[in-house]
């Protein structure tokens, strides 16, 4: 079941048998059924980087849910993604505090520097670009989060230097 889509999948080699095995182990520790769904999806996204349909089918079967139920939940929450992500995710805060401190300009600068728009990934799979409502780091507005690092008081000038740190 797990290996069928390996060749056609865009996971950058992330979906090895070991990763599928880890997911199955995790599911085995959870209570079967709906209540565990979001917890399992969090884990799956951590393992695969995103949630391709094959992974969703697998989870649906393991938890005794329909695929449409799983898909419905995945598409509802911003945190879950069905698109393969780049190696690094650039997340621009668009909350009001960042907005009044120039998030719009920062977003423009990032789009120019990376040559992609919101929701897209650079052709070399280095960066994906998304936005967020608020990270709760408003004291440092405007804020950009790259992977798990928060960068505060971003100016368009500072950006190039920061982005260069992520290979």
């Amino acid at each position: 079941m797990a290996n069928t889509s390996k060749s056609s999948c865009a996971c950058n080699g992330a979906c090895t048998d070991a990763v599928w095995g880890e997911l199955d182990e995790f599911i085995a520790c959870q209570e079967r059924g709906r209540n565990s769904l979001i917890t399992v999806l969090h884990k799956a996204q951590e393992l695969f980087g995103y949630l391709p349909v094959d992974v969703q089918k697998h989870i649906a079967k393991a938890l005794g849910l329909t695929v449409s139920e799983v898909l419905g939940v995945v598409t509802f929450y911003h945190y879950f993604s069905m698109q393969p992500r780049g190696r690094h995710t650039v997340n621009v805060c668009m909350g009001t505090a960042c907005y009044v401190r120039g998030a719009k300009k920062v977003m423009q600068a990032i789009q120019e520097q990376l040559g992609i728009k919101k929701g897209e990934t650079t052709p070399d799979r280095r960066f994906s670009l998304t936005t967020q409502r608020c990270f709760g780091a408003c004291g440092l507005a405007p804020v950009v989060m790259i992977d798990n690092d928060v960068h505060g008081r971003i100016t368009p000038q500072k950006l190039a230097k920061i982005l260069a740190k992520y290979e």
Partner: protein, 545 residues
Amino acid sequence: MSKPRMFLLVPIDANTVIAGAREVKNRFSLEIGKRGLAGEAKVIETGSFGPADAGVVVAVQPDGVVYGRLAPDDVPRIVEEHLVKGRPYVERILPGEKPPPPPESEDARHTQLHGRVVLDNCGRIDPDSIEEYIANDGYFALGQALTAMTPAQVIEEVKASGLRGRGGAGFPTGLKWSFCAPVKAREKYVICNADEGEPGTFKDRLIMEGDPHKVLEGMAICAYAIGATRGYVYIRGEYAISIERMQRAIDAARAKGLLGRNIFGRGFNFDIEIRKGAGAYVCGEETALIESMEGKRGLPRLKPPFPAQSGFRGMPTNVNNVETLANVPAIIRRGAAWFKSLGTAGTPGTKVYTILGHINRPGLIEVPAGVTLREIIEEYGGGMQSGSFHMAQLGGTAGDILGREMLDVPLDYDALQKVGHSLGSGAILIMNESVNVRDFLHACLKFFHHESCGRCGPCRNGLHVLRDITGRLKDGKAYKDDPGLMQEVALALKSSAFCPLGQSPAAPIMSAWRYFKDDILSGVDSNAARPRMARSLRADLSAAI
């Protein structure tokens, strides 16, 4: 070993970690060790005590000196000058900051110094040490409730304290508990709502990062009062440090027998689990949060039945905000009368705010309820950073926009209601003239439009219309009837949307209209004409109606 004579408090939280707080902390330990001061000076990792904009912050106690914007290379100088020679290193002192009292001093055991109830431990104790929490009267209130009070007495005490929900709506907490308590069920649940999604609000995050045990203790007391056996903390997936520290706190409490079976030997069983949110603003609404915990799309439920009757898994459930629960231990320990002596008659106690925007010292503050906006800007925010006060938004994106006229209104639930406003979630965004109100409104509406869950028509369609109108106003291309239409739709949403998400955009819109009418009208282009609907479509529509 001798008792340390000096304490270096280093807040490690989401804001300071980026600035390199961990490196600075390690360097301090290293330098202190090098100079053989290890027995005299103690470096303690804490949560935030307030400043959110000052880089790496370190408070040295009992000297009461706060350093800011530190780099690891500043550390040797500070150790040399301050710790060895006893002369504070003035170049890096952060002006105007009041440091938290030292962790082991007597006067620190009570909160008078700061007047802090919720944040009294934040920035002072190591959040990962249950011993330090216990040494500061931690879990005393739980013991008191379990051994000396009946569940009904606990509810009475919370009711008498006048504590109101700090998530935004301000519903009396004791009353909420009393709805859930008498319901008979196989199992009941306590849920701590830590899905802090209101843009500009991060108080709950810093409470959980600075003093996680206080939240757990509040949950346990609540569970005892309403007869619940299981608790859940629903935390935003993005709050990595909060999740880690809360989990470690749960593990530590379990190891000490403060969670689990037969707590304090009184036959009371209660355990807590963390659930990660997945990023949906609407999940801050309690029934949507419950749906999400059940693994579904976070769509709000029809009320009644209220969660107190039928919530998580159809069982009676009590949902409270982080800050609300963090107030509970102090109320039980020190009594309702003491709590009422703080704040105002309508809103006893304190309020935690995050203050942001064009002020000198943005950050986390806890002030008695009833303090005015002007006082917050001048005394706590260090004044305007640039320009003069233009407007403020109270309580995140769903909050009211206030003009200059409101600078002196006391911030409590009742006083604000009297002038037609509400307090909201605890974010205060201060703006100078550089922010255009039409631009700002459009940003708010884009947010709501994006977050609408799509369950009900008014919200799904109404926010679309409002987003377009504010967009035209922002560009100065609005039709003549747009400002009127905007208010009409906003009010229609307020009265017909299914949950607070759809109802609340009326707050920024109507309040902006109240104070900045001329600004909004300046977005109207008198030459622009609304495109006429095709005749055939109009005929179809009227036939359908």
